[in-house]
Symmetry: C5
Subunit: 131 residues, 5 copies
């Protein structure tokens, strides 16, 4: 009932959501299993309890040199831009989200994608079974 | 006349729309049939009857651990951001949409995608017919 | 000079645009021919003659049960959100666009995609020629 | 050093940008060569010299009937929406951009995609070389 | 732990981020190695220290004629549009980002994609190993 059969499609999409508040790191780092995990970030939104000040969401991940990089994912503000659509910002774990400025709360929502190692590896598995 | 021939393309896109009001859950959970169903969410919009306050749309779905997760899909406000484009947020049933804050109405629109199980399974079916 | 050779690419993209005014339905329903037609909606915009009130664009199409569905495509307002990017909302004919609220004009722009039936069917045609 | 090797990838992406001012048509119509050309439009932006009035960008292209069509690409306004993201509006030459309203300047930016005729034709060429 | 195995997927995605201030060019031009590098730009955001004036981000890259082109990537302004989503503007090195107007800081964030030369070349490598 979870939507898609991984054996056939090679990718499953789940809902991901977290609430960001000051001083609280939200870590996305699924336990190692047979699958690849990825986030496809979709929206950053305020709610009615969010103070009217700039809310800055920071993402901390890994750059191409293997170094930790911190950068601004998005900035929202209740009175002018209460929501930003990220349109599918794809990011691989380990990654950390935090509220760099503002007293929040801010809500981060996206798709948690679970994919197999090589997308073509299913047939390899099938071959093994047939032997 | 519905646009695309499923047997050939493997995917059909229909219009999906719902109106969100306080205290009303909108469930997307098509009856089980031979096809996979998916939403590709596109826009969240207010209309002229929507009160000028923050309208927060919540989505309730399934996370990667099989647990129910509730998170903010988008926030709109008539006087500053009457519409948010979600750019194709893909979500599999069962899923629930509701207005978490605000008195609405808020309109959620997207594509209802109907796809076959494995996208390559058509030929399998054809093979059966040929036997 | 129209950009792409359909025989080779299987898809051609043209400019689609219409102006929405109160009481005027804009129908997108190309005559039946050998090709599939689709809209990839891109932007909803106001112009300087648009009154400063909420302009609500409605789309009427076909849902997955074969029923007609009307829903809000986007809402724009000259003084706060004069333009919304739809990022490629794909919709198959027959479809109707209308201004549900506001006195307009509102401009809807996108790509009119013309594609062949099955994307692999060109070779079939070639086979016929070779016989 | 231009990023991608066309022989191998079949598509190269370059930066496209133009400045729109009243009474000045900007034509995108590359000279005919062995490649297909396409724009993937990304952003429409104002700068600090842009007067605070609605700036309406018009696009003139070819519709599916081979007729010239003019429609609004996007509307921006320095005090409320200084930038609109078009998220990859794909358009084939010949195409004309102009400022339909407002005194500008407005900046249009995107990717100029150069692709080969049929994306699979490289191997054909390779085959010829091997003979 | 960096998410994806390049040998199998052919593409790896890392976090890219930079801070733009007046008079400071940010160059993206990775050292030549066996891989192709590309940016998929995602967001331009202000932070609470950004002065409330129009902040204009310029990109300098290579056009299809091999000439250097400078154009406006996006414009943001703390009081009305503190963040713009670029939805994956793909750009190949060498490229330079700078703040053309405004006193900043402005934050540019995206994905740094590392891909192999021809995406199909893995099998070639495998063939060599088998010999």
């Amino acid at each position: 009932m979870n939507g898609m059969d991984m054996e056939q499609l090679g990718q499953q999409s789940f809902v991901y959501g977290c609430e960001l508040k000051p001083g609280k790191d939200v870590v996305f780092n699924p336990e190692e299993d047979a699958f690849e995990h990825q986030l496809s970030l979709r929206t950053v939104s305020v709610d009615p309890t969010t103070k009217d000040e700039l809310q800055v969401v920071e993402v901390e991940g890994c750059d191409a040199n293997g170094q930790t990089v911190k950068t601004v994912l998005a900035s929202v503000r209740p009175s002018c831009l209460p929501c930003v659509s990220l349109a599918g910002f794809e990011i691989a774990p380990p990654v950390v989200f935090r509220l760099k400025s503002g007293s929040g709360p801010v809500h981060l929502t996206g798709q948690h994608l679970v994919l197999t190692d090589g997308e073509q590896s299913f047939e390899d598995d099938d071959d093994d079974d047939e032997e």
